[in-house]
C-alpha cells in the first residue's frame, strides 16, 4: 500500500515536471526545425540552424548582446561598489543619523525603481542621458537590497579579525578591503547572480528609456523584432527568443546549485 502511494506520487511529479518543461522544449523544437514543422511533430523532421541565421541577419542581435553585456556589467560593478561602501558604514560605524539613513535606504525595498517610471524618465531626461546604456542602469545602481544583504554579512564578521588587521596598521579602508570583502564572498556571488539575472531579463524600463539600436538591450530588441507588424516568420521569432534566453539558461544549467542557493539566500535575506 505504502509503496503504491509512493509510485503514484512519483509519476504525478514527473508528469508535472515534463509539463513544466514543455514550453521550453517546444520553443527549442520550433527554433531548430524548418517552419513547416512548427506545429507538426515528426521525429524525422530535419534539424536546421536556418532560423537562427535569418534572425541574426534580420536584426542587429550582435549589437543587442553587446548592449546587454555592457548593461549587466555596469549595473553589477556599480552595485557592488556602492553597496559595499554603504554596508560597511552601516555595519561598522556609529555616526549621526545612522538609523534615519538606514530607514531611507529601506524605502527602496518597498517602492522599487520599476514603478517610478514616470519621474525617473524625467530625471534621466534632465541629466541628458535618454537613449543611453547608463540611463537604463542608473536607477538600479544604489540597491537597497544589496546594501541590506551585505550589511547583514559584515555585521557577522568577528571583531577579533578587525582588531588584528588594525594592529597590523591597516586603515579603515584597508580593513574593508582585506577583511570584509573576502569574507563576504558567498553574499557577493548570491547577489551577483540575482542581479545579473534580473537585469538580463528586465524589460519595461529599458523599453521606455531606449530608442535606438545602439542602446537597446536584448529583451527590447526581441520585442521590437517579434512585433506582429514586422510579419516575421514564427520559427525565426522563436530562434531569436532562444538566443535571448540561451546565455542565462546555459549558465543556470551549468551552475544549478549556485543559482538556486543564491536566489534563496537573496530572497530570504
Amino acid at each position: 500500500m505504502r509503496h503504491k502511494g509512493h509510485s503514484v506520487e512519483t509519476i504525478a511529479a514527473w508528469v508535472l515536471a515534463l509539463l513544466w518543461l514543455l514550453p521550453l522544449v517546444y520553443s527549442l523544437w520550433s527554433a531548430f526545425h524548418p517552419s513547416e514543422y512548427a506545429t507538426r511533430f515528426d521525429i524525422t523532421a530535419p534539424l536546421t540552424l536556418d532560423n537562427f541565421i535569418r534572425a541574426w541577419n534580420q536584426a542587429p542581435f550582435a549589437r543587442y548582446y553587446l548592449n546587454t553585456l555592457m548593461l549587466v556589467s555596469l549595473v553589477l560593478a556599480g552595485q557592488l561598489i556602492v553597496s559595499t561602501l554603504a554596508a560597511y558604514a552601516f555595519a561598522r560605524f556609529r555616526f549621526f543619523g545612522r538609523e534615519v539613513l538606514f530607514a531611507l535606504v529601506l524605502v527602496q525595498l518597498m517602492i522599487m525603481p520599476d514603478v517610478l517610471i514616470v519621474e525617473n524618465y524625467r530625471v534621466i531626461s534632465a541629466l541628458n542621458l535618454l537613449d543611453t546604456i547608463p540611463a537604463i542602469a542608473l536607477p538600479y545602481i544604489a540597491s537597497a537590497f544589496g546594501i541590506f544583504l551585505l550589511r547583514q554579512t559584515f555585521k557577522s564578521v568577528p571583531n577579533e579579525l578587525v582588531e588584528a588587521a588594525r594592529v597590523e596598521g591597516a586603515s579603515s579602508f584597508g580593513v574593508l578591503w582585506r577583511v570584509f570583502v573576502p569574507l563576504g564572498k558567498t553574499t557577493y556571488i548570491a547577489f551577483g547572480l540575482v542581479s545579473v539575472s534580473y537585469h538580463w531579463n528586465n524589460f519595461l524600463w529599458p523599453l521606455i528609456v531606449t530608442n535606438s539600436v545602439e542602446s537597446r538591450p536584448l529583451t527590447v530588441g526581441l520585442a521590437v523584432f517579434g512585433a506582429p507588424e514586422t510579419g516575421v516568420d514564427w520559427s525565426v521569432i522563436t530562434a531569436a527568443t532562444v538566443m535571448t534566453m540561451a546565455p542565462l539558461l546555459l549558465a543556470f544549467l551549468l551552475f544549478q546549485r549556485q543559482f538556486v542557493q543564491s536566489f534563496m539566500r537573496a530572497g530570504i535575506r
Binding site: W14, F203, I208, I268
Partner: protein, 305 residues
C-alpha cells in the same frame, strides 16, 4: 564602533576621533545617498507633487488641488485595471503557492530523479518574461497556435484566447503561475529542510498518517514561509507587466490591463504625465501598505521564533 569608547581623560582627542568617524561614514555612504535620492526619494516626492498639478502642455502647469484624483475616481478604466489587478492577484498568488508547496514536498522526498524535478520546476524562473511571453503567445494564437491545433485534433473548435475578454486573464494567469511557482518552491524547500527528521520518526512511531503529519506539523511550521511568499507574490502581481506589452497591449478593451501597464500607457502613449503621477501615487500607496503589513506582521513573527 570606534567612537563608542569615550574616555574623560582626553576629551579633545576623542571628540576629534568621533568627528572623523562621522565624516568617514558619511563619505562611504555618499554615493548610495546621492543615487537613492535621485532615483527613489526625489521621484516619490515629485510624483506626489505632480499629482496636484495640471498638465503643462506648452503652457505653465497650475495647482489644481485634488482635481486629478477626482478625475481618477471617475475614470472607468482606472477602476477596471484596479479590478483586473485584484483578479490577477487572486488568480496567481494562491495557485503559485499551492503548486510551489506541492513541488517542494516532492523534491524534498527521496524520489527518483529529484534533481531533474527541481531543474524542471525552477527553470522558468531564470527566463526573461519577454521571451516567455513570446513562447506562450504562440500557444494562444487563434487557429495557427498550438492550443487551437491541439483542440482541433481532438475535434473541438478553435478560440481566440487572448482576444476574448472572458479568457484573456486566465491565459495570462496560467503563464505567470508557470513562471513563478518554481521560484517560490525553493523557499519551501529551504524551510522543509529545517524541520527535524525526529519529528517525522516520532509521528511514525505514534502511527500518524502522512497526511495527518503534513496537516498538523509541516503546514504550521511552514506558516512564516507561506506568509513571506504571499507578500512577495502579491507585490509581484503589481509589478509584472512585461507580458502585456507583447501579448495583449492591455486589450481587448483593457480586459487584461494592469495598474502599472495603465500608468505606462497614460504616461508614454497619451503623454498625460499629471494623470500618470496620480495613478502612480495610488500604486505606491498599495505597495507601501503591503510592505507595512509585512513589516508589522511578518517580521515580528519571525522575531519571536
Amino acid at each position: 564602533m570606534v567612537s563608542a569608547v569615550m574616555s574623560a581623560a582626553e576629551p579633545k582627542a576623542v571628540r576629534r576621533k568621533a568627528w572623523l568617524t562621522n565624516i568617514n561614514a558619511w563619505l562611504l555612504l555618499l554615493p548610495a545617498i546621492v543615487l537613492l535620492a535621485a532615483f527613489t526619494h526625489y521621484p516619490i516626492l515629485a510624483t506626489l507633487y505632480h499629482s496636484f498639478f495640471s498638465l503643462s502642455r506648452g503652457g505653465a502647469s497650475e495647482f489644481v488641488g485634488l482635481e486629478n484624483y477626482t478625475y481618477m475616481l471617475e475614470d472607468d478604466v482606472f477602476w477596471q485595471v484596479l479590478r483586473n489587478n485584484i483578479v490577477f492577484a487572486i488568480a496567481t498568488v494562491p495557485t503559485s503557492i499551492a503548486l510551489a508547496l506541492l513541488m517542494a514536498v516532492w523534491v524534498d522526498k527521496k524520489m527518483a530523479g529529484r534533481s531533474f524535478l527541481r531543474l524542471a520546476f525552477f527553470t522558468p524562473t531564470v527566463l526573461p518574461m519577454i521571451a516567455v511571453a513570446n513562447i506562450w503567445l504562440f500557444f494562444y494564437t487563434p487557429d495557427y497556435g498550438l492550443l487551437d491545433q491541439l483542440l482541433k485534433s481532438l475535434g473541438f473548435s478553435g478560440h481566440n484566447w487572448l482576444g476574448d475578454p472572458s479568457t484573456v486573464m486566465t491565459c495570462l494567469a496560467v503563464m505567470v503561475v508557470w513562471k513563478e511557482a518554481g521560484f517560490f518552491m525553493i523557499f519551501y524547500l529551504a524551510a522543509l529542510q529545517t524541520i527535524p527528521p525526529e519529528l517525522k520518526e516520532a509521528a511514525e512511531v505514534e502511527g500518524a498518517s502522512r497526511w495527518y503529519f503534513f496537516r498538523r506539523v509541516t503546514l504550521p511550521l511552514l506558516m512564516p514561509t507561506t506568509l513571506f511568499i504571499s507578500i512577495n507574490a502579491l507585490i509581484n502581481s503589481f509589478k509584472l507587466v512585461d507580458q502585456l506589452v507583447i501579448m495583449t497591449k492591455g486589450g481587448p478593451n483593457n480586459a487584461s490591463s494592469l495598474l502599472l501597464y495603465y500608468i505606462y500607457e497614460v504616461a508614454f502613449t497619451f503623454q498625460d504625465t499629471a494623470f500618470a503621477a496620480t495613478l502612480t501615487v495610488t500604486l505606491i500607496t498599495i505597495l507601501a501598505a503591503v510592505a507595512l503589513t509585512k513589516f508589522v506582521y511578518l517580521d515580528r513573527r519571525i522575531h519571536y521564533q
